[in-house]
Each structure stands twice: as C-alpha cells, then as structure tokens.
Symmetry: C2
Subunit: 476 residues, 2 copies
C-alpha cells in the first residue's frame, strides 16, 4: 500500500473512537455526532472527550484525548476552530491513526482560518491522517460509522462509493439513493482536504474490494496531474462517475465561497473526461441514474435496444432521445414486422422500433409476445419498457411478473421507465403502487428510471464507458 494511504483503514473501520467535543447537548455538532454514532451501532469502544463533563450518554468522558487510558484508533473532532490544531497535536501524541474534523471556519472563511488549517496539515504530515476540516465525516456501514446527520442511513453495504467535497451532498446523495435501492460501501465528505484529498480517496477506492463503482462530487482538485493519472488508471478497472460543480464562471465564484478551491476551466475538464474515460454526470439526477445503471446493467459489445411504449408520441419521443444520445434502436426487417403485427392492435399501433403497443395499458400477453419475438430472434439484446401503465400500477400483477420472467428466461437486461404520472395530492395511493412496483423490479435487478430521457442518458454513459475502455485497452 502506498504511503499516502497509510491510516485509511482506521478512517473506515476504526477499532476505537474518541469523540472530541462530545456533549449531551444535541444543538452542538459534537453532541449530535456522538448520538448518531451510538445509534448507528458502532461496534468498537467510544470515548467522549469534554473537559467539562465526567459522563456523557452513560459513557465515561475524558478531559483530553491524552487522558484516555486505552488505545484510540480514530477521533472525530468537533471543537471551535481555534482549538482544533492543539487537539490534532494531542491526537498525534496519543497515537491516534486518523481523525475527521467536522468544525468549519478555516480556509473557506478567512486568512486566519487558513493559518489554522496549515497548522493542522503540518501535524498530519507527522503521522496522523486527517479528513476535513469543514466536513460531515465518513459513512462506512461495514465499519459501523456514519456521516452527520446520517443516523438514518442503511446499515447494509453496497457496491457504490461516493466521494463528496460537499457535506450537504455527502448526506443528500445516500439518502436520496436509498429509495432507489442503491447501497454504499463508503461515503466521504472530505471538506477542505487539508490532508486526505480527492486523489488519496480515489486511489484507496480504486483498490478497495468493497467498491465496484466510484462516484464523486468535486469542486476543485489539489493536484491536477496526480488526479488525472489516477482517473485514467482506475477507469481501466472500475467506472468513475464525476459530477463536477463550479464549471461555469458563476459556479467557480460560488465554489470559492464554499470550499475555497478553484473551480472553472470547463475546457480543461472536457479534456479530462475525454482522456481518462471518467464518466461525466451533469447534475445530481444524472449521477444517481448512472449509479443505478452501473449497479444493474452489464456491458454489451453492441447494444441493440427495442423500446416499447403505448402511443405514437411516446415512441416518437423515444426515437428522438435514442438518436440524440447515440443508443441504437435497430430497424426491424419486413419479416420481423410481419411476425410482430399479429401481436399488437390492428390499428393505432406500430411494429417498427420503437414498438407502439397502441395504448398506455396494453394487455400483458401482447407485451410478452412482442418481447419474446424480438429477443428470440436476437435482433435486439435490451428491452426498454417506456411508461406502460400496467407496469406501475400493480407490483403483484401479471405485467410485473412477466417482465421479471422475461429477464430471466432470455438473460437479457430490461430497463423500465416509470414516471410519477399522478402528481396531484389525491393520487398518493397511485404513487404508493408505483414505488412498490419500482422496489420489486429493483430487487430483481431491473433498473427503473423516472423518465426515458434519464434512462437513456444513464445507459449511454454505461455503454460509452465500456466501449471506450475496450478501445483504450486494445493495441492501437
């Protein structure tokens, strides 16, 4: 293991844990963190540190980390900014391997804060890894630790890691992803990166066996050349999906108030994406959608999609979207059209690709016949079910079963688009059924998206990644 990665296991799987600035007062970050950590079921020993208390939440409290009589592997620090450098010194003296600093008010705020932060960096260089300051910490369910305020995050691990320069997204992304069945190996809000930075995290996750898909929200990068090199190397073995904030001039200005990094330079980033094969997500939605695609879909040497919808405009829209995003909808032969025609309504439908099933609620036997015909023939190898109402209305109904059976029978990916169609307050039960159906599909390895546009974008991101990886790895 690289020197830069020493101490990282203590961040994610701490054997024991000091909470410095712990308090019974939940209005304080240190108070909230202690409560959340205990509630999350952290399995190691926890040592609250607070000079004014002898006991917090039924745990013995210590005046300083150096007063703790046992070994301390990891520390969470939440004391006022001016006190942080000394606390980090104390941790180093105590032999703590790594720490996370939740406190804000450093480089992102003032020149004085920047000095404090430099002092911390200097201490870190002497032998303690530091995450933060100005961060929400680390979530690693296998290590029993969670990010602030993520006491509600699942205890179950998953294949996705998320590196976030933003604390807000550090909690928002796993929370929102939860409803889509996306589970995480690690989430790291790393804030100002006075020691552990995006490069270190990328390198660690590149080697991490728990992580199959790396994702990140970044504002700035400390060491451009190293970052570029790592992105390129890791992208050869694992997908790295990046949402880069602050690419515009206005965004770069906001980045400066947020994490004190330099954003901007959109052209540079365009080149980075192109040359490293990192996957670009243009917003939070695309980041989540692309995670979902990589979780459930395998690469195909040649993607050939059949899109099925009910209604002409749906299929016109589908054709436009696939064409724009470079996803192939093969033209069906006249023979194929002839085979399909008896299986769709005689009027108001179309046996071309996309297949127009004539109405938003086609009977399952028709959908089955069309899927079996096109898959049996091998003319396509992926099915998109686009806004077919019966796929959303009843998770126990015949349509849901049929889709799952077809996926198994042909060992072929099926992608489902289930929009929130009934957005009025009085239709909450329909939304409940939609969510039940979605969860059923997800549990069977079928990704579900909110719009066709988002589904096809995620699919295109996946296919482009694997195609370019293949091209980059073959001898020129």
């Amino acid at each position: 293991m690289n020197d830069r990665l020493e101490g990282f296991d203590s961040i994610f799987y701490p054997k024991s844990h000091a909470v410095i600035g712990a308090s019974a007062d939940l209005s304080k970050f240190g108070g909230r963190y202690l409560r959340v950590l205990l509630g999350f079921g952290y399995p190691g020993k926890v040592f609250p540190v607070n000079p004014k208390e002898s006991e917090i939440l039924e745990l013995k409290a210590y005046p300083s980390v150096t007063d703790i009589p046992e070994e301390v592997d990891f520390a969470t620090i939440s004391v006022p900014a001016p006190a942080v450098p000394q606390v980090v010194e104390d941790c180093l003296a105590k032999g703590v391997k790594a720490a996370q600093i939740l406190t804000s008010g450093f480089r992102e705020m003032s020149a004085e804060g920047e000095k404090l932060e430099m002092a911390i960096s200097n201490t870190a260089a002497k032998g303690i890894r530091v995450v933060g300051p100005n961060c929400f910490g680390v979530y690693c369910p296998a290590g029993g630790v969670t990010i602030l305020p993520g006491g509600d995050l699942p205890k179950e691990s998953g294949p996705v890691a998320f590196i976030s320069q933003s604390g807000g997204y550090g909690i928002r992304v796993p929370r929102r992803a939860y409803g889509w069945g996306i589970r995480f190996s690690k989430v790291i809000s790393y804030g100002n990166a006075c020691d552990v930075n995006e490069c270190d995290l990328l390198e660690y996750l590149g080697q991490d066996e728990e992580t199959r898909i790396i994702t990140a929200y970044l504002e700035g990068v400390k060491d451009g050349p190293r970052f570029f090199q790592l992105l390129k190397e890791i992208s050869r073995v694992k997908p790295v999906i990046l949402f880069k904030g602050g690419l515009t001039q206005g965004g770069a200005r906001a980045v400066n108030s947020h994490t004190g990094s330099l954003g901007g330079q959109e052209e540079v980033w365009n080149a980075v994406f192109k040359q490293t094969n990192a996957i670009r997500a243009n917003n939070l939605e695309e980041l989540l959608d692309t995670m979902l695609a990589f979780m459930h879909l395998e690469p195909k040497p040649e993607r050939k999609v059949c899109a099925m919808g009910g209604g002409g405009a749906i299929t016109v829209t589908a054709a436009d979207i696939c064409d724009r995003l470079g996803v192939s909808l093969p033209l069906f032969s006249k023979e194929m059209e002839k085979k399909l025609l008896p299986n769709i309504p005689a009027v108001g439908a179309s046996a071309r690709n996309p297949v127009d099933m004539g109405s938003p609620g086609p009977p399952p036997h028709m959908v089955k016949a069309v899927m079996e015909t096109v898959l049996g023939d091998g003319v396509v190898n992926t099915i998109i079910i686009d806004e077919i109402e019966s796929a959303a209305s009843n998770p126990d109904g015949p349509m849901a079963k049929l889709l799952i059976e077809t996926k198994e029978k042909f060992d072929t990916p099926i992608i489902i688009v289930l929009p929130v169609e009934a957005v009025a307050l009085e239709f909450l039960e329909r939304e409940s059924n939609r969510r039940k159906s979605r969860d059923y599909y997800l549990s069977e390895g079928i990704p579900v998206f909110l719009t066709l546009d988002r589904a096809v974008r995620a699919l295109a991101n996946l296919d482009n990644y694997y195609q370019r990886r293949e091209a980059l790895s073959s001898p020129a």
Copy 2:
C-alpha cells in the same frame, strides 16, 4: 372571422351532440365516449346513433344522423374506417357544423386508408369542419366536452390551450398538468388533420379570449409557410410553446408510423424557433414547466435573481445552472454582504449570491431577513428558494407563510424548488406534505418546480420570450 375558422365554435361549444357509433359496450370507443361525455356533464342534447339499438344509456338512439328530428350542431364519429366517409356525408346533409373522428386506420396505416381520408377531406370542404381522424377529440370545459378518455379532467377552465397531434399526449398532458394546478381553456387531439390542422387551431387560439398561453405537441406541419407566418404573428401577442417530436432521423421514422406526417429537418426548425419567437420545449417536462412559468410569472425588463439554498454544493450548482442558461445572479456589493452576514450562520454559510444559508433547514427568521435585505435594496427582483427543507415539510408552518407574505409585501416573484427528496416507499407521508405545500404555494401564485435546473430553464424560456418580443417590436 377567417373562412378557415368557420364552424370552430361548434367544435368547442357544441349546442347539441350526436355520438355516431355510440354503444352501451364500454370496450368500444363509441361506448366509452358516450359514457365520458355524459359523465362530464355536457349541458346540451345528446343523440346516440346506432342502427342496431333503440336506446343507449337511457337515451333514444337513432339509426342514422339524418333520422334525428332536431338540429345537430356537432358529431363525434366512432364507426369502422370504411364507413366513416358516408357518415361524414350524412352529417353534411343533416347540417351538422363540425365533427370529430376518433376512428384510426387511415393515412397512417395504408394506401386504402389514405383514400378514405381524402374522401372525408373532400366532404369537409363542402361545409363541415372535421377534427381527426385518428384522434382522441377535444376537451373544452367551458363547452362541457372532454377528450377520450378524459372523464376525470377538471371542469374548471384555465388560461392554457394545448394542441396535440398525438392522442396519447392529448390526455397525458392535461392529466399530469392537473397536479401542478395548470388548467386549460382547450385541448385538441387533432390526429391526421384531414381538415382542421395545426394552422387553423393556432389561428383560432390566437384570437381566443379564453386562451392566454398556447402550447403544442407537433410532429409534422401541413402548410409550412402559413404555420411560420401564424407563429410569428401570434407570438407577438401570446406565448406559443412548442414541443416538436421527430426532429432526429430516428424520430422522423417513428413519426411516419404514427401520424403519417413528415418530421425531421432539425435545422429548419431551429430557424423557425429563432425567427418566430416561438418557445421551444425539448421534452414533456419542459413543456409543463414552461406552462407553469407563464401562468405565474410576469415579464421583467431586467431579471435579477437571488438564489437561496442551504449548503455550499447547492449554491455552486445553482450558480452553474444560472450561468449556463443565461439567468443573471447579480454580484452583491461588499456593503450588501455586510448587511447580510448578521442574518446567516457565522460559519458554513455565504453572503454572496447564491446565498448559502448554511444548512438545508435554516430558521425562517434568517430566510426572512435575507429576503427583506436583498429585495428592500432592489439589488434583485426575483427570489429562488432552492431545496430548503422547511419550505416543503409543513404547509401550515412559518416558512410557508413567510414566503407568501414576502411575495405580497414586495410584489415580487418567488420561485420554489421542492424536489421529491424522500423517494423510498416508507416516506410517502413526506411526499404528502410536499404535495400539500406545493399546492398551497401554487394557489398563491408561486410556481413550484421539481429541480432547480427545470425551474431556471422555464424562467429562461419566459425571459427570452419577452425580451425578444420587445426587441422584435421596436423599430430597428
């Protein structure tokens, strides 16, 4: 009134209504249409026509339209395609002013169907207006008529008209828009346009006093020069928002199976949008969002937005989006920043624009102080509240009241972004609260969008429209 528009009032406000092909059998379109029309509360006389029945749904049935002893203003036709031309002849003979043909299987299907359709066009030219064939008909709440299968559409009218070449979107758009509080003056699914076409409808709606905002989903256009001229003229007085399907090659192919029109030619359409000042919606979501913006927001000679969010990444993302879409977030002066600083948290926040309120749930008094400071100073004239949790969690809470009071007090637009944050099944109650909050804002004239990206796109569409309208109307 133009000759081309004769008989149009009979389409939207029919004094009496024959349903030809009516049936008690709900599996038939004619059966469903009759049921829906009666259920919708159509106020005029209804005459079912079916040679095999003497009474349908307690109404006397007639063998043919010509057997009806009273005047018939409008007819809905749902008989097999080969029988349609004679039925239209009969309607003309009876003096019916206008008809809609729900039946499919014409030009969009076969050469034979095309011949039948030409026969209908010829009859129409003799003095009866025909909507369709291959359509779902017309919804006009003020006239008591509804589109198929729109028995559930609201009876309340609104300022938006929607012209749809697609029957599917003809019903989907008003249904989905319903939950966003968007109400319609007229929705027309006009199908193959054998007589009444998109130009006629555009011209009619341009003059229609019930219609303030014209919107359309189009695949092809029959008379390019007339369409162009109308778009240009009407855009001078009312916004016309177009979602054009089939712009790509693949989409154009699908258009041909759907409505038998010619799609494609993206460059041509780019020029049409530019030269006419019609507003382009790139998908169904943008169409709905832009309707919402035009419903609730007034033009500003110079839009100056303050975006407020909780968390650095939210504000970085907001700055990127506004920069990309050309929406101005004015830089605050040092004095303004000084005035704002006491009203936001001392650390982890930012008094620049976008304003970072430090956390996703800032207390209402801070939000109030920031809004009053920036609005009172006049440095901005529009507020965007971006994903502030307390704005969504409680429609009766202080944050909701505060936002509405501020809008009134400063007579300034407020735009709210309320994402569906808790997408898991078990969080349905949070979604219920979100919908309640949204409905409250909408009822007070505050538009609510699902993402900031969608909000800013809709705002940019509105501002670009009015700015260009101003520029086009001033002497060069």
